[in-house]
């Protein structure tokens, strides 16, 4: 991608840093924001701010319209049949928790089984474990292979047949691996198993099509998609609308409250209690426009090119063990460990060169247990990264490893 594109991200120009340059490689945690998105959030407060679905004055009518337009834009972005399937939440974590409480809690029964994969983020493990404790449900884990990919879907047939629900990430936040979701969901549906997808990473890097994937629920976060923090989306297939019960009770989701009777609004407003993140929704619309102006196909291509390059470059460094063994089929995330240097030390030493990478278990402790690594370094990219960023990081990594060896010999 061009320097011109990089320049549209003010933080990348402004950040105080150590080292020769600043290289942000932690987009899987949160992406940086284009100037237009930042400006949109400000513009909301300066020009459009009024509460939605309430006032009848012009400003409020306009606010409602702008908010609902982003719902339509979001539906188009992921090719959902209807904007009514788009629920705004505070993020992927809340989306998943909401589905667990507002839907699963009412349709699952004692003794039912939920299948989770070994590569899930804690956000797609803990809500289900909590629900399992409450309803006495069984949890089964879909194992990963040594390559870092999920065991073949055909081998999971009998487990999925027993299960009522599969909760699966579209792309691993540690390994970067993209799961063959279309095939998995088709098989699950054949076996009458519903599917909740954690799309937090995938939505940032891939062109999504709900009509092709056909998940029951698909969750993602705006802040990983060049958008504002504090905002996420839960896509809900309309076939589940009838089974959904309120999540939070309060304003907005109410149709009528009398002293002895409650009636609720239909979806998606049923799940949007209280005043929503109005400025953030508006700014998210701008983030979607930004990505659409580049084209999601191009965003995905750039991402694949960079992740393959990053994988190969890192694999070539002496002492580096990359987690997961394929450069194919991954989003812009590569995690690795280095012999004798703890991930935290590596991240601190990278920081000395102005390189921002993440160290730890990345909220995927069960996965790190399976991989036999207590912590790893994660390098993740987005549209503003290029090969030069990777080259710089790899060059400094080699330097760090060599210096470390000298100091310890």
């Amino acid at each position: 991608m061009s320097q011109q594109l990089k320049d549209t991200f003010p933080l990348l120009q402004n950040t105080q840093h150590k080292g020769d340059r600043f290289v942000y490689l932690d987009s899987a945690a949160t992406t940086q924001k284009p100037a237009t998105v930042i400006a949109a959030e400000k513009a909301w407060y300066e020009r459009f701010n009024a509460n939605i679905h309430r006032g009848s004055y012009d400003l409020a009518e306009q606010a409602t319209k702008l908010y609902e337009q982003v719902r339509i834009k979001t539906a188009q972005h992921i090719n959902a049949v209807s904007p009514k399937s788009i629920v705004f939440t505070s993020g992927t974590t809340e989306s998943i928790n909401m589905i667990a409480r507002a839907w699963a809690r009412h349709v699952l029964q004692r003794g039912d089984t939920i299948v989770l994969t070994e590569m899930e983020h804690h956000s797609n493990i803990v809500p289900w474990r909590l629900l399992a404790q409450e309803l006495e449900l069984h949890i089964e884990y879909w194992p990963i292979q040594r390559t870092g990919e999920l065991q073949a879907v055909t081998e999971m047939k009998s487990v999925l047949q027993q299960a009522r629900l599969l909760c699966i990430t579209h792309a691993s936040n540690v390994l970067g691996v993209i799961n063959p979701l279309e095939r998995i969901i088709a098989m699950a549906h054949e076996l009458d198993t519903a599917v909740v997808v954690d799309g937090a990473q995938a939505a940032a890097h891939m062109q999504l099509d709900m009509q092709v994937l056909q998940p029951d629920f698909y969750c993602f976060s705006a802040h990983k998609m060049l958008g504002p923090t504090g905002l996420g989306v839960a896509y809900v297939d309309h076939k589940h609308f009838g089974a959904i019960q309120p999540f939070l009770g309060g304003g907005e989701m109410i149709q009528q409250v009398t002293k002895d009777k409650l009636t609720f609004k239909p979806m998606p407003w049923l799940l949007e209690a209280g005043t929503k993140q109005l400025a953030q929704v508006f700014a998210f619309g701008e983030a979607l426009d930004y990505m659409q102006s580049i084209g999601m196909k191009k965003v995905a291509q750039h991402d694949r090119m960079l992740s393959a390059y990053m994988y190969e470059q890192l694999r070539g460094v002496d002492g580096v063990r990359v987690l997961g063994s394929s450069s194919e089929n991954r989003i812009g995330i590569v995690s690795f460990v280095v012999d004798d240097i703890h991930a935290h030390d590596l991240a601190t030493l990278c920081n000395d060169h102005g390189i921002a990478v993440r160290a730890g278990h990345h909220c995927a402790m069960p996965l790190h247990d399976v991989l036999g690594a207590s912590a790893s370094v994660r390098v993740s990219t987005h549209i503003y990264n290029d090969k030069a960023d990777i080259d710089y990081m790899v060059e400094k990594l080699k330097l760090i490893i060599n210096e470390w060896k000298k100091l310890n010999s």
Binding site: H342, D345, D352, A359, G360, H361, S374, A375, L407, N408
Partner: protein, 121 residues
Amino acid sequence: MSIYNQKIFKHLRHPKNKGRLDAPDKVFEGFNPYCGDRLVFDVLFSDEGVIKQVGWHGAGCTISQASASIFSEQLIGKTLDDVMTIAHQDCIAALDIELSPSRIKCALLPLYTLKQMHDVE
């Protein structure tokens, strides 16, 4: 190399009291949920309740490992009540380095393990 001084590397290369005790009187286990580091301290007391011997083990970064080594030396001769009075500033000062807030947690893991605390309280 930034925060890593010779003292840290000395303890990394030659950690004090690293290993398990055969028959500890008490075993303390601590986690750093931020990074997944885990430390275990085996402790042997005298009849008077004074720490006679310490053995520690666990995976972790350089800072938590060096801190565990230094801290294990400080424990000898103290009672558990004495240990409870050790301030976290003392543990950080013992490393002779400047740490960012996230790495301070690494340095304090040994102390928190003994105090059975989860974070700065």
